[in-house]
Symmetry: D2
Subunit: 409 residues, 4 copies
Amino acid sequence: MDHSREIELEGHIIDSGIMTRVFDRVMDMGGDFEIITFEVGKKKRDPSYARLQIRADSEEQLQSITSELHRYGARLIDLDNVRLMPAEADRVVPKGFYSTTNHPTSVRYRDEWIPVEHIEMDCTIVVDEVTGRAFCTPLSRLKKGDSVVIGEEGVRVVYPERPRETGMFEFMHGQVSSERPSATIVRKIAKELLKVKAAGLKVGLVGGPAIVHTGAGDALATLIREGYIDILFSGNALATHDIEYNLFGTSLGMNLKTGELITGGHKHHIYAISEVMRAGSIAAAVEKHVITGGIMYECVKAGIPYILAGSIRDDGPLPDVITDTVEAQDRMREHLEDCGMVLMIGTLLHSVAVGNCLPSYVKTICVDINPASVTKLMDRGTTQAIGVVSDAGTFIPALLAALSQNING
Amino acid sequence: MDHSREIELEGHIIDSGIMTRVFDRVMDMGGDFEIITFEVGKKKRDPSYARLQIRADSEEQLQSITSELHRYGARLIDLDNVRLMPAEADRVVPKGFYSTTNHPTSVRYRDEWIPVEHIEMDCTIVVDEVTGRAFCTPLSRLKKGDSVVIGEEGVRVVYPERPRETGMFEFMHGQVSSERPSATIVRKIAKELLKVKAAGLKVGLVGGPAIVHTGAGDALATLIREGYIDILFSGNALATHDIEYNLFGTSLGMNLKTGELITGGHKHHIYAISEVMRAGSIAAAVEKHVITGGIMYECVKAGIPYILAGSIRDDGPLPDVITDTVEAQDRMREHLEDCGMVLMIGTLLHSVAVGNCLPSYVKTICVDINPASVTKLMDRGTTQAIGVVSDAGTFIPALLAALSQNING
Amino acid sequence: MDHSREIELEGHIIDSGIMTRVFDRVMDMGGDFEIITFEVGKKKRDPSYARLQIRADSEEQLQSITSELHRYGARLIDLDNVRLMPAEADRVVPKGFYSTTNHPTSVRYRDEWIPVEHIEMDCTIVVDEVTGRAFCTPLSRLKKGDSVVIGEEGVRVVYPERPRETGMFEFMHGQVSSERPSATIVRKIAKELLKVKAAGLKVGLVGGPAIVHTGAGDALATLIREGYIDILFSGNALATHDIEYNLFGTSLGMNLKTGELITGGHKHHIYAISEVMRAGSIAAAVEKHVITGGIMYECVKAGIPYILAGSIRDDGPLPDVITDTVEAQDRMREHLEDCGMVLMIGTLLHSVAVGNCLPSYVKTICVDINPASVTKLMDRGTTQAIGVVSDAGTFIPALLAALSQNING
Amino acid sequence: MDHSREIELEGHIIDSGIMTRVFDRVMDMGGDFEIITFEVGKKKRDPSYARLQIRADSEEQLQSITSELHRYGARLIDLDNVRLMPAEADRVVPKGFYSTTNHPTSVRYRDEWIPVEHIEMDCTIVVDEVTGRAFCTPLSRLKKGDSVVIGEEGVRVVYPERPRETGMFEFMHGQVSSERPSATIVRKIAKELLKVKAAGLKVGLVGGPAIVHTGAGDALATLIREGYIDILFSGNALATHDIEYNLFGTSLGMNLKTGELITGGHKHHIYAISEVMRAGSIAAAVEKHVITGGIMYECVKAGIPYILAGSIRDDGPLPDVITDTVEAQDRMREHLEDCGMVLMIGTLLHSVAVGNCLPSYVKTICVDINPASVTKLMDRGTTQAIGVVSDAGTFIPALLAALSQNING
């Protein structure tokens, strides 16, 4: 193995599992390593420092390995500025483009480290050579001529470290089991949510129609009215069935108070959409007293923004639905800024979509009756997600109760 | 088709779907039919009566078809006494034995119709020729020389009819969806449970350890203390983790109040079993104040019988566990008498086992986070089961609240 | 109960379960009935005829009941032409609009029965008063001034009847169990597919990216090349990962031959999209030999249309993706014409979307590893769907083998 | 924090994640640490060595922490012999007993390290003071007077290390996703199975009745006949339905070739059991040509032992079923000796039971259509299990094909 290169790692690299991952990847990829220096932080709060020589059989293999290690925060020793290349055409990446992780990232440009703004996974980094700012740029927004970062040189990633204290979120980390004490989990989420709000960050809710079908619509409406939720991400179905419930007491034609299918109930959601269409928008329908309560009503009243993204499953859809999916993604991205926590309840589609746009440090909780939904979210890269296998119909009311209790005592 | 035979059907045979099933089976099995008489009940409460000629290509096929129709309550026109044949050996059935459904059944013996006692599915019927009584007899209890019923002649089955009124259970019948209004379902179950108790029937609970793991142990203990449950069917795991929780505050080593894994917690369940072993039994451990609360404690205090059936997964097991599975079945059967409702929560193994021994008229509710569990229960023949896809940890406390509310107003 | 009205039903109304459903609904809804005439078809192929008087406490209740019965094919005795009312505005329904079922439907217009074209569920019916044709019209296409059918008068629905012979599809009808003989099911589906093709009808495939991830992409490509599939409904993910697999041998960065995650593999799907972008379209990329094999390649080569509908989860997306969801639905609808069978594999989103637009007589098979997906599809109204709980990675190759075998012997 | 103690760790402790786990636990449990020495293995094959001082606020907390670290292979510096205490009574553990992990373990007894035989999780260790041997002893086998190991002193655990090469099993480690290339996984399992056989170790199969229901019985029978399986762990259901299939071509009454429910089929499994009862045993029924093929037949013919453990769900059961669950466990344990690989297919109950008795170095593959089954198996401590979410009906035939291909070239 005569191709080698040195890298360095710094921080809580042992207890955050970073060293383990680095060694694993080198061995998985058929490379070898030698430790040049390893200064272990003696005490809990001391950072460690490691310098490794990575060896491979070819320059190409070496390149591959260091490229992977980079994603765990490893840095090449020789400092260089970032390499840039212009995009040949709209939505066409230059060969060798740097593909982002969802961890905080900075690039060395003109001998200075500048942060990459709006970081999310699987995007390019574009440097604005005029302002000297760097932006995480999804393929859909890449324009001809944009200066795109090539390779890992001059790029630094901060891999998430284990918090020094026992936090709440750690206790369930990376696990998806239905055999957890539900009430305890709800209390912990409530406490964490209040901490996020106290820190001045926003709480986002991503929700599917199961919230209404399982009868938790009233509880979610109350959460919104009482100021716990700052932004709602959803689709046509949740809004339609919420409005159907407000207008007719049913959801997909089922009377939520009696559990019975109402005659003519199959028309209710079409009527609901049609009435909003007549008013012009959900907000207009609230203003005209057509809609008098529920999730969407509370959003309008409280001025909480809602992003309703279209899907090919939609009936209607409501006039507020953004039917263009690329535009809907862009709107979603704008509103994810400053979110400190995102609760995802009963929707795989929207959860993966929002998860794709979140940095890894945003607290993400995914509640679904189906454990496979949580697994899929993590498989798609939202590895920080905590899965709670539970029933929206009982979970949201329990969360509301836990929040009230925390506030009042 | 020159082989034919006449059968008759009576009751609410149209709206209970019986006629549909009869026609379906004949066609599925390649037979033909002609309607001789069809007197339709003109009004809602009037029974109907149908007389059909069934035709087939061979005597054997005809036999097959009428044998199937029999299971839906069809009767051969020519009245005959039941045919009996002695069992050659213990647990050996005579050829052509009649295999039971789980519907109420009677046999014509010495020109009189006598009910088959303790009906359950997939058993033989044994007639005691001395007392003139007929018993549903599982293979494991069949003794050499028992008079076993052969064929369908002289056997009558009463297929379940649709109730004339809209009951509660009908609204969810035969469906397993997670998209139901949880709180409404809980209220309906609470109301039905109180109706069953008011009718002087027993309510059985079949439970798995998930009840304790999800933190619903306290709520179940309260249900027992307040007299809502008359009999507990479970295994070593529920009892062990309930006692572990009482002794150490943990369940499988997890502190249920904090959700944290306790150091040394992996030993707790072994200690719990060992302490009961030292006392001699659960009841003795309660008496000696070793166990001071929880599900098993409340059972002992209230004199509620509990059947703990052994499984090969068991640690220990507790001295109260019936390790012989055939014996455990027999004990289970004794206690199912007079049950008007059975709640099955978080255990597929025990639910199917109890379901196998239940007549079809016992109200059966299966609560599981996994929809496949409910499907399997129905696939195994407990077709009357109503599936509720929910989380034991939030469901049981909600049921307790709904019951208290109903009682208090 | 002094409000009454007569209805009639005709056909195989007993064995198709129609009479049962009619009686059930009347009783569920608190009504009463009296049978005026009931002429039972004596033999298997004879239709039956029933005339019932329905009674209710109020005109409104009576209206509700007959409106429901209508959905099972019940007709009011007094023949009337359909009532029409103009839509006030685009996408605004008139009060009392008739909401479609997915069964064949006709309307009585100017004393003649005319069929409703392109029937699908939850739509309006618009009559073109110039040409005298009637169209099933989704809300999104309803234009101001369209003549919309109001109420059930003059509308006839043909509820699906049980086939007189034992077909293949009946054996699994309405059930979703994983405990079925997989090879047998595959053989039956293969046989049915060939029958549909032989009848000159189209076979549609609705597929998710799991087809590629589980390694079944090659088998699907072969199915397309050999002419078994006439139309592909999918999204950005299937096409992207199929092309990624063709360009790099990976799917979401995993080498499908070794199961290993390839270094830099997380970039592959972005490269794949970008290369297609550079070429201009999938077809152009095939033409320029950028794409040299796989599912999309075979579609282009064979001239099989593909509808790639956008979703907010999409990276890119590919230039061929229809990002506007309403437009995507319309394109989907056009291509569903003449489909005799639709296979849905590994995608809940697209399956429900396509299911929503299918008449109830199209054979629909939904293959998913997750039984909840099939349940949800049926809950959304595609009740004719047959659920197969299996693994795309083993199912599609097995289907291909069964088809080859059938063709060759 | 004035209570402290030193521990040491040795081996591939960084890349096996051991150091990470040790630091994590100390912090989780509110302790502190200081690194005294850390000698990092410079190269891939060099072991590392770490000596840490652990600090806590109380002696009890310190004890708790070191007790946990012990489970990851940490050793106290001061060497001591193991402490022993006699069991007071049968199945009663002494206070402070050492509870086993499923990793290789040895105890220091009379100044020598002796291995603990038959290691499995959650048991006691009993030292035979006469022979100087140490045995892992489940509670059910603990006898009054047995010398039970107390505390962690003098006990050493070898935590599993990451293999230096990329093996096959590593690629899926600890993950349960349905989105994997099925054919590739099957090939890898086949290769690994052949490696295990070549090493002279046994391959065990744990199977549920779904194997027969999904039509994979023939393939499993072939696997046994061709010598790939050395021991079968199952219950009454698999054996009964296998024999039912041999006698009648049905499984739970469904014809596996046509997928149709056979008339009278509900009796078949009772007949099957009864016929075996008449013969005396499965082996006798094979000898008397009552059973002429299938899984059990091949076991008898090839002399492959089968352990059929009873469960309360059982009909019958067959005379070969061990109805006492504690006895069944003991029999299972005897036969797990020398197993190098265990395949678990379609049964949660038996998989957890066998998993409980396996050392962590036995290759364990769990195939189930339900991802929750695999999760539960891991939650119960069988963390080495690799989950494959697939359909038994297509998986087993594919495995058979892959094995034949490997053998033949």
